[in-house]
Symmetry: C2
Subunit: 454 residues, 2 copies
């Protein structure tokens, strides 16, 4: 058997994912809306032969605790992800380009067009991270007071997925023939209407763009709840894992892939990417010292606000240096289940509020090490089937990203577990994912029955 | 007084606006989804120093009469406009980039983000053509069976505009200070929430992107109805005129600008751009002969279908070579009023169905001429206040576009009525439009009253 290859994606925020990243010496004022800045970052990622560049998203700015968010401005000022990726497509040539878009707040027809168009413009490099969104700020921008409950959001997500993929199958791949002789631009029999009426959406029409290079953009997901895992087993092609210990990651990997055959899917057609925050140094200690410096830049109010947001209750009345009473844990998580569980776990283990603020990782392994140590860890996770690759969040960019590209990537390449160069040109090819066949072609090969792809 | 300058925008479709454009010798198969093709076209427009490149849009493919649409495939296969413009931003540096988006089928928050982001990415070159959409195909893609009535669509458009502009004023221009010393990324007092509850939308939140270079993208419109004109007088900064005779254009120009003072607006802050289809030749006859060749490529079914669509009733049961009975004109236009009126007028003048099919222009002056003749006509319209410039639709591209850029533009420049080069870098600067001040800044200068911009 040939050596299994690592997949690498990276979640990019203007300054990096650390809550105090914008305060780092290297942080450029103005970066969040400066397209040349992002082009440079994407080019560094492409130099590192990453599978994809990823943008997280929530369609809302925070409108409460604004004084505190002003000290840690993530969510407040960002280029819109689909336009940003489109701009990056012109500045890169191979790297995949993926972003989050919420099934709770988009119209399927608009979203189907935007991603299909991005896939055409980028030559088959688009990826869509399906989320149901996890905050009420977003809900309030779209006519609601609160998010619908978790199960309802996922039911809507599934129906959204069904509609959008049906729209992407409007046209068979060879529908547009541009036959000037016969006067037919396309073959009418290769156009297929969508006629959908469900609980959440009614769509009766056809997508006004040819099927895109990848058929569908690559479908990414990150749900950690039961419903989320089931949805991923059914629809996702890459999943961001949130385990922080290798044993948990191995269990998650098995669990998720084990759910796929029930949906008629091949477990190889879903890549599990472990979330990891990586800081490369000459040694682990040196890397950790850099990180500690950034930690020291976090204003205390910011730490508390992050906890409050993710445990979905305000703990700021409590003393910082005492354990948090267990009865302060809400009965149910409605937003990010994995984040919630991480904090709840720390409360149950008796950590003080200050310790929780300092140690909370948002479900990411945080790795400090020399290039060799980091490569070792990545290889171990790969070999032990804890993941198929990594979703790396660099705490402060460009420095921690550049360090990884320059120092760790060559080691992974030398070990034969990461590409020396891109061999394909689409994100599907990078990840080793099949191109979904058009359901109508499958159906006619099957004798007429239209089936969903899986 | 210094010589008044022409504004020039151009509506670009992959092959040009002629219904048989894709059958022309020069038409490249695959062009509609080929980004390099569009980059080249946009660069030609920028060489011509045009104010802006414009993309029309309807969020739907046709699902009826598909056999006929296959012969004239406009609407069937297009890159999504906002992604396409974003890609063009990277391939050009000065030209304005404008597209249609429908207030009937977008969520205000999503649209506000997309255009603000495009404005940032392009360095202040974005324009938004507000339409209410004019076909039921679109409605069916978004959960409805039919479009809402005309007046209701415009009421929604106005509320949409109010919400979107309020979102664009979330942040004062100098809100993001990136002050590392004090630890404030932005100044909380320069962030302003939107709290809107109206007939159509409820939005309570804040836009998650800094105010864009132009404040708002330039607002374009093309409504020809009474309601449409009133809405334009209140909100538009450029309007596409649909008069085909200079007298009508002069009347429209006066009419529209005359409505503005009632809204406290300066008539100079709205540019009327006359729609014109232009074919340059060595002589008018030669240009006309080229056009006649393209006309000869139109399949008869296509001509009839365009009439049916725009007069909103099927006339295909009638004999081609006889006048159309006046009682076949529907009582009311619900879609494009100007198109409807043009066809109704031809019916009333007793033209045969075949003549109507051949002569119907979709409310565009179609001009054939030598470069001097075309420059003369443009200058006459400008001097007589029939328009402030033109919205040119080139029937077949790139040839008719290139001819105009190479042969007509230099004459306009030599006459001092069109720029030799761009003097500003934003679309507002090209068009001579003021940058809207943030309503909250205006309000605090006014002593606290928040007022809309006008
Ligand atoms: C790496 C990573 C990226 C994520 N990106 C987003 C995002 O951009 N937007 C969002 O709303 N949620 C994001 N999430 C959250 C998940 O998609 C998911 O919505 C959340 O975990 C709640 O679902 P669950 O209850 O099934 O876990 C992300 C999660 C991870 C691990
Ligand atoms: C040059 C030009 C471009 C237009 N572009 C679009 C478009 O992209 N999408 C659309 O739905 N309508 C478009 N229209 C139609 C108008 O915006 C308007 O919706 C239509 O005329 C109906 O409004 P009314 O009844 O007020 O005239 C365009 C019109 C003109 C003249």
């Amino acid at each position: 058997m040939s050596q299994k290859q690592l997949a690498i994606g990276t979640l990019i925020e203007a300054y990096g994912l650390h809550p105090a990243a914008w305060l780092a010496e290297e942080a450029e004022p103005g970066a969040p809306t400066e397209i040349e800045y992002f082009k440079n970052i994407a080019q560094i990622c492409e130099r590192g032969k990453f599978d994809f560049y990823f943008i997280a998203d929530t369609p809302a700015a925070r409108t409460q605790d604004v004084e505190t968010w002003a000290r840690s401005p993530m969510y407040m000022n960002q280029l819109e992800p689909i336009t940003l990726l489109t701009a990056l497509a012109g500045a890169t040539s191979k790297i995949g380009l993926a972003a989050t878009a919420s099934t709770s707040f988009y119209e399927p027809y608009n979203l189907a067009r935007l991603y299909a168009s991005l896939d055409h413009i980028s030559g088959g490099r688009a990826g869509w991270n399906i989320v149901t969104s996890a905050n009420d700020y977003a809900a309030r921008n779209f006519g609601a007071d609160r998010l619908p409950p978790h199960a309802k959001r996922y039911a809507k997500a599934k129906e959204f997925y069904d509609v959008v993929t049906a729209l992407w199958d409007t046209w068979e791949d060879d529908a547009f023939v541009y036959d000037k002789e016969e006067g037919y631009n396309f073959l009418p029999e290769k156009m297929h209407m969508v006629d959908h009426e469900g609980e959440f959406f009614k769509v009766n029409g056809a997508l006004n763009i040819a099927r895109s290079p990848q058929g569908y953009p690559v479908i990414l997901e990150a749900g950690a709840s039961e419903t989320g895992k089931e949805f991923a087993a059914q629809t996702a092609e890459a999943v961001f894992g949130v385990a922080t210990r290798i044993e948990d990651a191995i269990a998650f990997y098995k669990d998720l892939k084990g759910r796929m055959p029930a949906y008629g899917r091949n477990p190889d057609h879903l890549k599990v990417l472990a979330g990891a925050t990586i800081v490369v140094g000459d040694s682990a200690e040196e890397a950790k010292a850099r990180f500690d410096h950034w930690q020291s830049l976090i204003h205390p109010d910011v730490g508390l606000l992050r906890i409050k947001q993710d445990i979905e209750t305000d703990l700021s009345d409590l003393p910082l240096d005492e354990p948090v009473p267990e009865d302060r844990i809400p009965a149910e998580a409605n937003h990010h289940r994995a984040y919630f569980d991480e904090i709840a776990g720390m409360i149950r283990r008796g950590l003080t509020l200050r310790e929780i603020c300092q140690q909370y990782t948002r479900s990411k392994v945080t790795i400090f090490g020399s290039p060799e140590e980091i490569a070792d860890m990545m290889q171990e996770w790969l070999d032990r089937e804890a993941c198929d690759g990594f979703m790396i969040t660099f705490p402060v960019i460009p420095s921690t990203l550049e360090d990884f590209v320059e120092k760790v990537v060559p080691i992974l390449q030398a070990r034969g577990i990461f590409r020396e160069d891109y061999t394909g040109s689409t994100l599907r090819e990078h990840l080793g994912l099949p191109r979904p066949e058009n359901r109508h072609v499958v159906a006619s090969a099957d004798g007429g029955k239209v089936v969903a792809n899986g």
